[in-house]
């Protein structure tokens, strides 16, 4: 069997760390080959080497059997290698077409021939079933469409081998389904795919073979048909992993959060939350399920005071906190694990230690008469770092240099430690490996068991189903159904999220 890509004995060092050490990866033509490993195992690095962004210290790369030296992305492009990056490489204020043709523009006497380009984009997108609007601006389109643009970029350049770095981490279930069918089309058209994902289910569903790496070292390659998720997980982590989180029965008590008739309009004066009602009791986890863009972000931002609302009430322990300043709301007992950890969750240029007191810096013992008490701050930070297993060289390391998983753990530690009556967790496990996910889920359930109210927002149905005690389905700014996770199926939820009523969805009760 011929390999389209062979990476043999690859070693890549960064100052002070060996990111890849003697890794082998062989991809057959026409297969979907998974690359699996914990956060920081070295997957992205290996792919960046293949794509020509990094130069390896050692090792050989062969494309279709021929040894090659890929010193920059242009060479990778010429060799037919295309990459869809973990963090999208899109220029936000350019149009879809402009992003696709960038660096390879069709011209007519020096001028970009936009018409021609748009037609080409249209042709390719039709051929592979990648629906996009060629003239839309990136900042105006959904994440799913952005990803399709990324794929189109590689196809436009005639890529034969496509690398997907964690493509599903940012997608909604619907979008994931679409992506999977796109990948299948691509294979049918004769392409080969390398897929990085933390979701074992996806690997089992679409992949042919899987290569596992752990802490920068290659562990081996197995056929998907000959393995199972448990084996993959223990290969990658090096120990047994539990998948369904152990949970006792919830003991719901007093109502902590009660939202009545909440209406929110966005900056363009469009109603995004429409007389929404929701209640979360102490001792229970309420999961919000819904397709992205149905008002989840606005709901969280109105509860936490980051956005102002038109009307209705948001009662926390009976007191209205609607349109209060964030500080007031935090002090009233709301904890918030934000959706975007870089934008809201952390000051990346502060040390981890200072990030640990982001909301409490002005309180005793961290501040006395307006002066910070660094001793107390760093003691607290050290304690949280230990307790929440944040892997960092130290509490004075800048938050920026932590991996996503560890940044997330730091935020969760900080929020849980404040012991809020209501903990809002927005996509708390996005992009994390199974080990980290397990850890975070356990922490959320622990809070519930301590008698706190937890509101969980996630696009991962599996997460919602596993962790929540109650699922509220949000659709077009309204809670359209409340279901019991034990009595529903992903299919039913999916339909509810798409807007069909409970009866239509064929509820079992």
């Amino acid at each position: 069997m011929e390999y389209v890509i062979e990476m043999l004995g690859i070693r890549k060092e960064f100052p002070g760390i060996v990111a890849n050490d003697n890794i082998n990866l062989q991809v057959k033509k026409g297969e979907i080959h998974a690359l699996l490993g914990e956060n920081g195992a070295g997957k992205s690095t290996l792919m960046n080497v293949l794509f020509g962004l990094y130069q390896p210290e050692k090792g050989e790369i062969r494309v279709k059997g021929k040894p090659v030296s890929i010193t920059n992305p242009n060479i990778a492009n010429d060799l037919g290698i295309g990459m869809v990056h973990q963090h999208f490489m899109l220029v936000n204020n350019f149009s879809v077409t402009e992003n696709i043709i960038l660096g390879n523009e069709p011209t007519q006497s020096g001028k970009i021939n936009l018409k021609d380009a748009e037609k080409q984009v249209k042709d390719i997108s039709e051929k592979y079933g990648l629906a996009v609007n060629p003239s839309a601006k990136i900042s105006d389109i959904s994440v799913g469409m952005q990803q399709r643009v990324e794929i189109l970029k590689t196809l436009y350049r005639g890529a034969e081998i496509l690398i997907f770095d964690e493509p599903t981490a940012v997608l909604t279930p619907q979008e994931i389904k679409e992506l999977i069918s796109i990948m299948k089309t691509l294979i049918k058209e004769g392409k080969s795919i390398i897929l990085i994902t933390h979701k074992l289910k996806e690997i089992m569903e679409v992949c042919d073979r899987v290569t596992v790496i752990r802490k920068g070292e290659g562990i081996g390659t197995v056929n998907v048909s000959e393995t199972n998720p448990n084996e993959l997980a223990s290969l990658m982590v090096g120990r047994e992993v539990l998948f369904t989180t152990e949970k006792t029965e919830p003991k719901p008590a007093a109502e902590v959060l009660k939202i009545e008739n909440l209406t929110v309009k966005d900056s363009r004066n469009v109603t995004v939350i429409d007389s929404l009602n929701l209640s979360v009791r102490a001792g229970e986890i309420v999961g919000i399920a819904g397709v992205d863009g149905n008002g989840q972000s606005e709901l969280i931002e109105s509860i936490t005071g980051l956005m102002s609302s038109e009307s209705g009430s948001i009662l926390l322990n009976g007191k209205d906190i609607r349109n209060q300043r964030p500080r007031k709301i935090t002090e009233a007992g709301v904890g918030h694990i934000p959706q975007d950890r870089h934008k809201h969750g952390l000051v990346l240029d502060f040390p981890v230690g200072e990030n640990m007191v982001l909301q409490t810096y002005y309180q005793k013992p961290f501040s006395k008469r307006g002066v910070l008490n660094f001793k107390a701050i760093y003691e607290k930070a050290e304690k949280l770092i230990k307790e929440f297993d944040v892997r960092t060289p130290g509490s004075s390391t800048l938050a920026r240099s932590l991996s996503g998983g560890n940044q997330q753990k730091a935020i969760i530690g900080r929020e849980i430690d404040r012991d809020p009556d209501l903990l809002i967790a927005a996509q708390p496990t996005r992009g994390l490996d199974v080990g980290a996910i397990e850890f975070i889920h356990r922490r959320l359930i622990e809070q519930r068991d301590k008698g706190k109210a937890v509101l969980l927002i996630s696009f991962e149905l599996e997460e919602i189903m596993n962790v929540s005690d109650k699922i509220a389905v949000i659709y077009e700014g309204k809670i359209v159904a409340i279901v019991n996770p034990k009595e529903t199926t992903e299919q039913e939820l999916g339909l509810l999220m798409a807007g069909s009523s409970r009866r239509e969805a064929g509820a079992t009760t």
């Binding site: 936490t304 502060f350 982001l358 002066v371």
Partner: protein, 348 residues
Amino acid sequence: MNLTRYFNIIVPAIAVLLGLICGAVIMLITGYDPVAGYAALWNGIFGETYYIGETIRQLTPYILAGLAVAFAFRTGLFNIGVEGQLIVGWFAAVWVGVAFELPKIIHLPLAILAAALAGALWGFIPGLLKARFKVHEVIVTIMMNYIALYLTNHLIQYVLSDKGDKSETIFASASLSSPLFQELTDYSRMHYGIFLALIGALVMWFLLEKTTKGYELRSVGFNQNAAQYAGMNVSRNIILSMVISGAFAGIAGAMEGLGTFQYVSVKNGFTGVGFDGIAVALLGGNTAIGIIFAAALFGGLKVGALNMPSEAGVPYELVEIVIALIILFVASSYFIRWILLRFKKEGK
């Protein structure tokens, strides 16, 4: 960690050295005598106690202007308006200095306070516009500089004098001038303001690094979204930052008005101190201690250079070139660090 500290000292030192060497090379190429040139420079700074006094006098406003720029910088704002804030501070200090005669213990602090308030007001406007309307502070501060210039000129002519070109000299009770320093330095204009500048540096360091407010200001500077998430009032902190920055600049103006000149006169153009403050702040790495050293270097070079044309026939501008090169080398410290690391590795 130790390496960082070592670099923080050695890199600027190397930059200064490189700047001076380049200056010497330029003198050689253009037919001047570098030894004589630098000797004249040295004498112009240290040759007599008078010159030492003048150097300290010169670096005093530089420290404060540098602090003003740095304070804004550290909180994510670029204050090009230090010049204008300095001008209004100068004016306000002198106004208070000539308008009343009060006991020194009240009068002097009052005049300095007026300068700080005027500068703060001049910073408040761009801060407010930035916070409320998201107007870019760079343009507004540039415009405010010109407004400050023309407005104070007008007020000097029509309020502080009768269509004259300058104000009266301030009352002694508002003056920073120091008979002691004057005696020590043979009648230089060195004044007590230097203490104020040093205290200013201490204040900035303490405020930013040690206080709760400083933590907020830095958070807003680095990440407004996270600051808002954490319950901080972003708008208020932006305004506060510009106000404090402006107050530093205003006090720099008081140094001129109450110390160096003791009056304020109509200006044909900018004093340049505010713009030099940008260089001082950046050279000092936007830290309080760094700014003191950078200001000393700047003050020394500027005062010492006055001696170069007469003593060595070297144009004054040579020093400007040297200063520019030093800034450039400090800015390119990545390169110097890289070379140093090479050396260290090979040494091992």
